[in-house]
Amino acid sequence: MAACGAEEVVVATVGPADCQQQLRTALAMGADRAILVETGGAVQPLLVARVFAAIQAREQAGLILLGKQAIDDDCNQTGQMLAALLDRPQATFTSKLEITAQQARAVREVDAGLETIEVDLPAVITVDLRLNEPRFVKMPDIMKAKRKPLEVLKTDALKVEAPTALQTVAYETPPKRSAGAKVKDVQELVAALKQRGIL
């Protein structure tokens, strides 16, 4: 983002205090300042979206970028919810993005192929890993990042109304598939496929 002519890049997250480390990394990669909205327990997408909507009301960003889904709960919801709350466009699963003064053109990875849409800014874009290669962080950047501003806020300071959360009842490990047999050559492979009625 810093490379595409944005005046300022603000990196924000919602989570426990140790998220400061991730924010510092983003600052080292080139973001100008950071905001951490500190929470204790687990947070669900609708609450996170409401927090970001409150931050956007303050920041008035021209473009809001998020990952398409979290690597823990795999919800794939926050960006879409944020766009709805802001009543602004969304471009999810984006792997290519071109930005002009008033608009963005996003190439989205959808089941059928690649969909291109055009959105007016401000817009919410959620991205696939294929969007780009993250910058390599060098030592001087890490030093510089330590001096960049990092604001810590509490959710109540943002006056965000918490939605009724889904209740977690239980966790389990899914049944594992067990390894079958290795065959020693292609003839055995064909025999095994025939035995299973596949060939």
Partner: protein
């Protein structure tokens, strides 16, 4: 009084997507299910939805703005339609994943992603941590249950005894103009659809190049199979993104899955765990794919595949 379910149909090129019939299998277990069809022209799609076993009624919303499935356009209409329903479901395809959270935020309620099992009327199982853990989640009483349904976990509903009634509905919802469809680059293929195919042959980084992928296509054609790929193969530019199988690609449940030159990262395995038979061909005998494969063979794919094709031909004579 039974529960009422609204299912939003997925469609393209004027036809119902098979994901709708699979989502219906989950929906019908929860209550009387109406299917909403939002399109520029709903006729054929509505008729296909109405024919499905378990569809009580089709609600057709025909507007020129609905020509393309844009979340910003569809969400306000779906939020209006959902009033009075106990459940709102969509398939967990890129369509449902894009649209439903936007609806959830408009309605101000939490949403479940990737329902893989219905435990009871308000309790569901869904995968987290790339499928390494299954969490059971309960939706609190008194709020609408919104969820995307992992289609690979449900068998599609077939045609019913009689067609359900189709009701045209005009919605006055104001629609934004800030989001515009430009184009859809589809990778046109004569091969079976990856998400519906009973046989899938996939290639990974081990295939080595886009050019080399022809050996994968060749074997797939011999078996009448669809072709898939790992994220690594898509990242390397060997094949387009719509062929990606796995956690953030397509979750599939074919009868036969052949993984060729795919090491078997957990994100990939998540996409194939419901496959009936998994065959792995890999030169690395330590590759994790062998831990889940029913039949494994260690060796060079470029010698194994031609030999396999030859033996398949011979066995058919």
């Amino acid at each position: 009084m039974g529960s009422r379910v609204l299912l939003v149909a997925e469609h393209e090129h004027g036809k119902l997507n098979p994901s709708t019939a699979k989502t219906l299998a989950c929906a019908a277990a929860l209550g009387t299910t109406d299917i909403a069809v939002l399109a520029a022209q709903t006729g054929e799609i509505s008729a296909q939805a109405a024919a499905l076993d378990g569809c009580a009624k089709v609600i057709a919303v025909e507007r020129s703005e609905n020509a393309h499935a844009l979340a910003a356009i569809l969400a306000p209409q779906i939020a209006a339609l959902a009033q009075g329903y106990d459940y709102l479901l969509m398939p967990s395809t890129t369509f449902g994943k894009d649209v439903l959270p936007r609806v959830a935020a408009l309605l101000g309620v939490a949403q479940l992603s990737d329902i893989m099992e219905v435990v009871d009327a308000r309790t569901f199982k869904r995968p987290i941590y790339a499928g390494n853990v299954v969490v059971t989640v309960r939706v609190p009483d008194g709020q609408m249950v919104l969820g995307t349904v992992r289609t690979a976990s449900f068998q599609p509903r077939g045609p019913g005894a009689a067609s359900a009634p189709i009701e045209q509905q005009s919605l006055s919802a104001a629609l934004p103009s800030h989001t515009r469809f430009v184009e859809l680059g589809e990778h046109v293929s004569e091969r079976p659809d990856l998400q519906a195919a009973s046989r899938v042959v996939s290639g990974g980084r081990g295939v080595g190049s886009a050019e080399n992928f022809k050996v994968i296509y060749s074997l797939a054609d011999k078996l009448g199979a669809a072709v898939g790929a790992s994220r690594a193969a898509v990242d390397a530019g060997y094949v387009p993104n719509d062929m990606q199988v796995g956690q953030t690609g397509k979750i599939i449940a074919p009868e036969l899955y052949i993984a060729i030159g795919i090491s078997g990262a957990i994100q990939h395995l998540t996409g194939i765990k419901d496959a009936r038979t998994i065959v792995a061909i890999n030169k690395d005998s330590e590759a994790p794919i062998f831990e889940v494969a029913d039949i494994g063979i260690v060796g060079d794919l470029f010698t194994i595949i031609p030999e396999l094709e030859k033996l398949i031909d011979a066995s058919r004579k």
